[in-house]
Subunit: 191 residues, 2 copies
DNA sequence: GATAGCTTTTGATGTAGAACAAAAACTGAT
DNA sequence: ATCAGTTTTTGTTCTACATCAAAAGCTATC
């Protein structure tokens, strides 16, 4: 059974009926094909997306032109380039879909207006930022600091059991900050 | 010239007079000596601190008992264990002062009450979280992913020119995720 | 079912930084 | 000034993972 946008919103922080109605009117449903770019470097991130189906990857392109994944969003996650979105300044990373995907989105300006208009929505947004941005990033940070490649891979598998089927080895390796050769050896249990 | 607590608060997001007054009444001034622990693992972080003078380090103790620094706060920064504070669950890390320090603090419950009471304070807290937590952690995350030890050290020196005088080599090395031997060699320019 | 284009695996060699050990340089208290 | 404790430096060896190269396995299209 598929969660509705309303369920997702209410699960973050309960909004009174009036505010909820107003908020829902500012979200728009969209479908995008595999390989579509939600964000490219140099562009300012204008949206907060609630993905309902699909997969996205976040990546940087380094000086040698190599793409380095920093994050994946699977199915029911929130997507945005936090730094670009909150500061409304040009992004440095790309966000690209790696499956056909469906999502709801709200624009930065609409979000700001709703934050000013509804005290309850401001409290909702606090929960969203605290739980979805802060906690997630901190987790990832401590993984990078304390775990080796194999442990990071196992933790990723635990978090997203389907990841091995839906995301290519190269993309996962890049996220883990190791080469695909190393990840292949980890899978074959030679490391 | 020393910034007041009021200046610091207002620089994040301007509060109307009534809310500001109410907020200021819930902050308390404190002084703690060098080596004092603001937080120990297993304890829930109940405070948000605004340091006005001093230095703190954040660290984990790993299974082998080795302390690993994850962050420093110098002088005018905001201190808290974000994950423990926002979820009100036991912390995994320690926060310890490495100089005699002065700060203002507000308690979790007081903060929550103020968020409910003042719409403007909720908007203020959104800015605080967006700029002080999110942006900072994301920065650190991308450093860890893309820069080698020497580049990370140079960036740290750039950000806090006084750090080399106020924080020991061992503590800095631990933060950079390298051994003190390696940092010593970087300083001597042998790497 | 042959061809082309990806993706994954296997092998050999190289390197940044760890680990261990010990010396040298500070710091501070007596 | 002297001794004890801490912090920093120097030297050697070791290891996780990178890099380069090539083979093997998929998948899709005509």
């Amino acid at each position: 059974m598929k969660a509705t946008l309303e369920d997702t919103i209410q699960s973050i922080y309960l909004l009174p009926e009036q505010a909820l109605k107003d908020v829902l009117e500012h979200f728009h449903h969209q479908e995008y094909p595999k390989n579509y770019f939600l964000l490219k470097p140099g562009k300012t991130c204008k949206h907060l997306w609630f993905m309902t189906k699909g997969v996205a990857r976040y990546f940087y392109t380094n000086d040698q032109g190599k793409e380095m994944n920093t994050w994946f969003s699977l199915d029911t996650q929130i997507i945005t380039d936090t730094t670009s979105f909150v500061k409304q300044e040009p992004a440095q990373e790309s966000i690209q879909l790696i499956e056909d995907s469906e999502m709801y989105s709200i624009e930065y300006t609409a979000l700001q207006a709703l934050l000013q208009k509804h005290h309850s929505f401001a409290l909702w947004y606090i929960k969203l930022v605290e739980l979805n941005y802060v906690t997630q990033i901190e987790d990832r940070l401590s993984d990078l600091q304390f775990l080796d490649a194999k442990q990071r891979y196992q933790k990723l598998l635990n978090l997203y059991p389907e990841i091995a089927n839906r995301i290519s080895l190269g993309n996962i390796a890049s996220y883990l900050n190791i080469t695909q050769e190393t990840l292949s050896r980890i899978r074959a249990d030679k490391l």
